[in-house]
Homo-oligomer: 624 residues x 2
């Protein structure tokens, strides 16, 4: 019975803040686990027999690089068989799946780790997690000399752990001097042609590979690297090609715990690998890596405390792969229609009316979460059900972290069906994140010119198409003041007075018509072209478009209130013809004809009230 | 070599619309797969030997009840060993994990399905997927007579398939007459005490269980029921308790394909079960169920075309469990602060200024996606990092489909840490969905009174707390008109004229002060209490709060513009004292003193402009 761990932490010490929640848990778990008895320190390698049985460390590393530890998590020991999955990943990357599969199978044996039984039917070791298979894999490690091979292997392991690792020479020599059973296995394999090289050379790199010094924290990071599709979460460096990570995890899952694999799957349900020095490494794909180290091992060669800790963690955190939490339910964040959401392009009343009435022909779907078969199928099915059938469909991918091949295929078919049906499909926000590059490439082929960085531009394009189709756009170079909202309700003689105040002005594309902070002396009516109201966006450093105005629309009218200052820039988007009205002149007019001013104010207020109503409607839509 | 399937579909027939995308795929796959040769129809049960080797069907069922099929998907055949996982699930549910584990192990054998080798160490069959284990499981089926036991089993299978199933009597009799090897296994087990009942009785229910007639479509739905945590996606009925689904999948994964399990995991990587009549059922948890049926089987007893089809589907759709798509990256939908988002409660200028300046003390986090260890850990960690540290934290769970035990535990710790630190944590939208009941219960213990149906109420509470703390609320029963925004800038003598127009009015809680559609004759200033502007929500049938106003704020002021009609209801939320101003009287005043009207209009416009600016800011925040 072990009474306490050498580094027993005070279970009542509460790390503070949210960081403490998981750290607390691990501390409590460690407190209990480190007191467990049972098992014996491995003795078949003399150097391992010296290990202190009281040592006990636990570490968790997340795929975004956070590590939590308890106990002896920074104590160094030799990696032993935990090295096998990584060497296997290396072999797959170097020689490809088929070539490796010919040399080493993937079938569990039901035999012990050091079994000498080989797959006679296929003339190969059963799998790369038993010693025979691992020795055959060790032959694939590149290098002309033993030193070069050791360096290749160390470089790989160091990249996985995120720090430079080294070999424990004492353990290496001890393994080399006493590893006769492994020698027998190697010669058996040489005899049947399963290996071709000099057994001592292969065993040299194999023993070195088993003698790499790691800590529990290192192993958690190595596990998190697998959980993170092969990219080390601490360094951001790729250690294993993503396409082979699933193969490594599969073999860990079926063969990693030897003849305890079935019960381990049942009790823990996480791909894992144990090492005879007393460590267990476990991987929860897409989430985290776990490592436990404590020397006493059971009859299967698995750390007693390691198994117990993994069982508890898996149960407490529901990490079993079949209690996993993929869900296709949330692929659509929300659907918005063009009658409620609008581009920043201001519209005149007939345009507004048209979009209010027919805007449901525009549908914007915010897609969210990773796209894989289940979520993409559901997304596409939902798009087919949207009623009424939108003639303009915008897919906003801003919240999609990645789309796999299956999703790209399904979305390619969707895009093709839109093209064939003569409906328009626009896609946005595929840009920055390189993980969406395959999806972008898919769409570039099928939807040239329909890919936008921001949805505002896509929305405006759809609105413009609907307005153009209805034929209600107008060019107001020769416009009557009575047509303008702001002058509505004024008598003919009032309009004549105002007409005399209108000053025609021309601006070229890019001209700054109004500058934020300047005194507000004029208000404007656009006759031709488009102006954009914009502000610098403090967040991105880019320019934020607040609104655009075309012919028949006014801007800068807040100037009428009093001698305030401009609150934003207004820039000519193209060549612009507009009419400027001096605020002072209008106020002078108001003094002799007050109803002109009150009518203009009332019109502005109606406009503001309407814009406010629409903004609130949009807020309600966006909140849902 | 088989030349064509009896139901060969036209590969060029394109089902239209989005439904066709997956249907097309299956049709193309079926076209290729149905032409594959190899394997033989099972002969050891004479009745099975009659099967047409050309038959070939494929079906996919999603967890939301959509099925896609190709080929002979509605042809009936006997379920055979595909029944085993479901009977195992039944046994777990009836007797519990421990009791069943004592009778039947979970370790793969590396032996054939009809192996007579038993686990002598534990005195039990190795696992419930080999015949020995399945016979031991058949003994657990409830019933006093053979008929009752058969009915228990049929009821279960029918619930899984979503339609009433029946037994193929001819196959049943054929199995009964020739199943001598199974008899031998049963007697071996009786001999060692692994079963206790009469072997013939147990075999009777076992043979019937194997003789249940199903179609490929049925099997896909049964698989989807497992994928959907035990609830049949067609009927919504629970068929297996959720807590045992993972156990069933685990044993399918390690033992479902017999001594082909390792290679199957490697090539396909989906928990599956094959039956000797030529069917394979595969489960992708949280996504879908797949079934393939085609009689020719290989030396492991697995359908040749079934294995080929599953390989292709798994590869094309990337369904391998270790290529799965759990991601912790999207647990937070967005973070919003109280300086940008506001409750519907209108605020007076000093309150608005305060909230603008100190509103970042309020933080609202929209949580999204399922909460499990990885996502909850990330959510909690992020909450700890929010800078500045919010004194009022609102968690909106509207987009969380469920939270597992691990997430509940972590969130309980989070809530406790807020309580201990004297910070406020409010939670919203835990209500309707019963899948969030455990989370609701967790919070009810720790955060009594902090659970809200909607976030608007939670936001208002936080704002009120900050305003109360600053001591700037005021009671305006005795207010000066000059303090009101709407009269700002008017001279003392103008205010005196207005004061004479103010008519004090009292309303009781629930009184409708303004009714939508009525003519607008008055505008109001609140002196005491709160009024709510509301509209019926066409979507939900409930009432939608547009705004609330307290002392010092005005409502109904659009009446000033002209004789329009009210656009919404205004209701007294409690006892309300307010002052009504006749619009007509103010217009009369405006005729003699026009500057009074223009000043009021300009003030209103400033207010509207400010509200519009804030609304646009909120839209920008909500869009991100």
């Amino acid at each position: 019975m072990l009474s306490s761990s050498p580094s027993a932490i005070d279970p009542y010490a509460q790390p503070s803040g949210s960081d403490g929640l998981v750290a607390d848990y691990l501390a409590e778990l460690h407190f209990r686990i480190s007191r467990l008895s049972g098992g014996n320190v491995a003795t078949y390698i003399p150097e391992l027999a010296k290990a202190d049985p009281k040592l006990c460390g636990i570490a968790i590393a997340t795929i975004d690089g956070k590590t939590y530890t308890a106990g002896d998590a920074d104590y160094e020991f030799t990696i032993q068989s935990v090295s096998k999955p990584f060497a296997y990943g290396y072999a797959l990357e170097r020689y490809g799946r088929e070539a490796v599969l010919q040399r080493v199978g993937v079938e569990p044996t039901g035999e012990a780790f050091n079994s000498i039984i080989l797959d006679e039917v296929h003339n190969r070791p059963f799998n790369p997690m038993v010693n025979a298979g691992a020795i055959a894999i060790a032959e694939t490690i590149k290098g002309a000399t033993g030193e070069e091979r050791a360096e290749t292997m160390l470089t790989l392991f160091s990249r996985l752990a995120g720090r430079r690792l080294s070999i424990d020479e004492a353990v290496f020599r001890s393994e080399q001097q006493t590893g006769h059973r492994n020698r027998a296995i190697a010669y058996m394999m040489l005899n049947s042609g399963m290996i071709r090289g000099v057994p001592e050379d292969i065993l040299d790199v194999y023993f070195r590979q088993c003698s790499v010094r790691v800590t529990c924290r290192d192993l958690a990071v190595m596990a998190a690297t697998l959980a993170n599709d092969g990219v080390n979460p601490l360094t951001g460096e790729r250690a294993i090609a993503a396409e082979f990570v699933a193969d490594v995890l599969t073999v860990m899952n079926t063969c990693g715990m030897y003849n305890y694999a079935g019960q381990w799957s049942y009790d823990v349900g996480i791909p894992a690998k144990s090492g005879v020095a007393g460590s267990i490494l476990a991987v929860i794909p897409g989430q985290l890596g776990i490592a436990v180290f404590s020397p006493p091992i059971d009859q299967h060669g698995n750390s007693v405390r390691g198994v117990a800790a993994c069982k508890e963690i898996a149960q407490d955190f529901r990490l079993n792969i079949f209690r996993s939490h993929v869900s296709t339910a949330t692929a659509i964040r929300r659907e918005l229609h063009g009658d409620v959401i609008h581009s920043k392009r201001a519209r005149n009343p007939p345009e507004r009316k048209l979009l209010k009435e027919t805007g449901r022909r525009i549908c914007l779907v915010e897609v969210q979460g990773p796209l894989f078969f289940g979520s993409a199928e559901r997304l596409i099915r939902r798009i087919g059900e949207i009623d009424p059938r939108p003639s303009h469909m915008i897919l906003d991918f801003r919240r999609v972290p990645y789309a796999d091949e299956a999703a790209c295929k399904l979305l390619a078919r969707l895009a093709t069906s839109f093209v064939e049906e003569g409906r328009r499909l626009l896609v946005t926000h595929l840009g920055q994140d390189s993980s969406l590059a395959p999806l972008r490439a898919t769409f570039e082929d099928i939807l040239p010119g329909q890919i936008f960085d921001h949805r505002d531009a896509a929305l405006e394009l759809c609105e413009n198409a609907i307005i153009a189709e209805a034929g209600i756009s107008y060019d107001a170079t020769r416009f009557a003041l009575a047509e303008l909202d702001i002058f509505k309700g004024l008598a003919r003689e009032d309009l004549k007075l105002l007409e005399m105040l209108a000053r025609p002005m021309v601006f070229e594309a890019g001209d700054r018509i109004i500058r934020a902070g300047d005194p507000a002396l004029l208000f404007f009516v656009v006759a031709r072209g488009t102006v954009t109201v914009e502000l610098p966006d403090r967040g991105t450093g880019q320019t934020l478009r607040l609104a655009s105005m075309g012919p028949g629309l006014t801007f800068g009218e807040m100037a009428l209130l009093d001698g305030g200052r401009r609150s934003a820039d207004v820039v000519a988007s193209e060549r612009v013809v507009c009419y400027g009205f001096s605020v002072e002149a209008i106020h002078d007019l108001g003094r002799t004809a007050p109803h002109i001013l009150t009518t203009i104010y009332a019109n502005m207020m109606r406009d503001f009230s309407e814009r406010l109503r629409r903004a609130n409607e949009e807020i309600r839509a966006l909140e849902h």
